[in-house]
């Protein structure tokens, strides 16, 4: 669908606004190599993006966002700190809702600056809020860093923590794993039988395929070690549940998290960062007393945020997708940086939705 002049004008206005804040204007190819995205997100990306094949370049994808190419660009340029802005179309398959646009303009503001992460979080949020100034929108925020810190702080095996970290963005599997490790969910009969067997391979069929006998044995050893490890204490699981259930204004959440940190000191740094962020936001004129905070905000698959997360929603239009979204993605830069990582935070605005709300 061609972009309307009004949307193009709005996109230009937003990009100029971000450029005036010192962001360098960058561009990215519409067709991106698909391999990076498949490595990051797996097969789910096929349900959400337009993949196609190029006879020489292999699988390509119509860019579903700018973040990945901008991170790649930044990691090659190696100039820290840096701020970038861009404006261009992104493409998303809409498998379940035909009324949602499958191509639309995004204008973004990305900050690569490790000096003061809380300050950079606030800078991006405030820049996006400024872009939406005067519109009937409300902000939702969260912090995946708190949940990740809580998982790291569990008194349990490293294998269990790694499994939970791997599924941070898949709430259902995360909950199931936590239930299993906490002894709340019964061990499946098949596993009980496997661990009780004198010879687990007695009924094994022929060794076929690439996954070797040694790999199967290694997993059985891991399952035995897991069965021998004590369950995660109920109090600790209750603390994780309490973090996930948080749904209050930011100052209330901060005070609740401070209480939780008494029992779970591992989240102390993450809570301190939340506090510093709220101060920075306040310094930038954001009314943090009314700012909503949700403990499980941003935990959806196909996301890469691992710290501060936020979204802006049209107040009277719950049917619309968020007008703007953003967050911190330090881990993504580590994955794309081949050993190098740069703290990074960014946000995007959809000018088409802005225009729709302005008139």
């Amino acid at each position: 669908m061609p972009t309307s002049p009004a949307v193009l004008t709005e996109a230009r206005r937003l990009r100029d606004l971000f450029a005036a804040k010192g962001a360098q204007v960058v561009k990215a190819d519409v067709l991106q190599p698909a391999e990076t995205l498949l490595d990051l997100y797996g097969e789910d990306i096929r349900g959400r993006s337009y993949l196609t094949s190029d006879p020489l370049r292999g699988e390509m994808v119509l860019r579903p966002d700018f973040t990945v190419p901008v991170v790649q660009m930044h990691m090659e340029a190696r100039a820290d700190p840096a701020r970038y802005t861009y404006s261009g179309k992104v493409f998303r398959k809409q498998d379940t809702d035909e009324t949602r646009a499958n191509e639309y303009v995004q204008v973004g503001y990305e900050v690569f600056d490790g000096q003061n992460p809380a300050g950079a979080d606030a800078e991006v949020f405030a820049a996006i809020a400024e872009g939406l100034d005067g519109l009937p929108v409300r902000a939702a925020t969260g912090d995946i860093g708190v949940l990740m810190a809580a998982v790291r702080g569990l008194r349990t095996t490293e294998d269990r923590k790694a499994a939970l970290q791997r599924h941070i963005w898949r709430p259902r599997r995360f909950k199931a794993l936590l239930g299993r490790y906490g002894g709340k969910m019964p061990v499946p009969e098949t596993r009980r039988a496997l661990l009780a067997a004198d010879d687990p391979f007695a009924a094994a069929g022929p060794d076929i395929g690439l996954r070797s006998r040694a790999e199967v044995e290694a997993r059985i050893a891991a399952l035995r070690a897991d069965a021998a490890a004590p369950p995660i204490a109920g109090e600790e699981i209750a603390l994780i549940d309490a973090i996930l259930a948080l749904r209050k204004t930011a100052p209330h959440v901060l005070s609740t998290l401070r209480d939780i940190a008494v029992d779970m000191p591992a989240i102390g740094d993450a809570v301190a960062r939340l506090e510093a962020r709220l101060e920075s936001l306040s310094d930038r004129g954001v009314d943090v007393d009314t700012l909503d905070f949700e403990g499980s905000y941003g935990r959806t698959s196909l996301e890469y945020y691992d710290g501060f997360v936020f979204g802006f929603y049209a107040v009277d239009r719950p049917d619309l997708p968020p007008v703007a979204t953003g967050g911190r993605y330090d881990a993504l830069t580590a994955q794309l940086g081949q050993g190098r990582a740069v703290p990074a935070v960014g946000g995007v605005i959809r000018p088409d939705l802005v225009v729709g709300l302005s008139c």
Binding site: D95, R166, F174, R191, A203, E215
Partner: protein
Amino acid sequence: MLKLGVPSKGRLMEKTFDWFGSRGVGLRKSGSDREYAGAVDGIDGIELVLLSAGEIPRELASGNIHLGVTGSDLVREKLANWDARVAELAPMGFGGADLIIAVPQAWVDVDMLDDLDAAAAAFRARHGFRLRIATKYHRMVREFLRDNGVADYQLVDSQGATEGTVKNETAEAIADITSTGETLRANGLKILEDGLIHASQATLFRGRRAGWSDEQRQKLKALQMVLGIS
């Protein structure tokens, strides 16, 4: 006139003719055996269209046919958001087959999706690529694994002899249709306990595309009365 799409050959066609016939609606091919034209006896205003079972979901969704008989698996695989585009009128009790996930019997540590997910994580770390699942049912498998939180796998396309892909080392696991599981066992594979993606059977569908005339609606009602499925 209501257009009814029915599989154009094989057992699926014969069973469909039997199903309608035993309910008082005669379906038959007209003309020579090679022609894909049909005739309907016992009720007026229904036109029989003989099509490949795989094309019936698309034709229903586009409104080219109003009613159609095909496998419930094909509708789910070929139509995004299938239940907004077609409606199930009657399961027909034949053509049953299960879409399942199967892994080598040698994987004694893998019996559930939970195990598959853990094995996939370890496999990727060890081999440097995501564990491959061979299938031709990409949409259904992907949605099933996403809903169940399985990660670190990839789907590789296999349009036939899927059971052999593990032995041939072009995949580590498969997702395929089976009715008895015999071929799977013969190929050294076993079905995951919670790996049933969909229990498919031949089903009579109605297209949901808007724009039916009153006459067509009444015709459908009349047909449902005759078939005893209203």
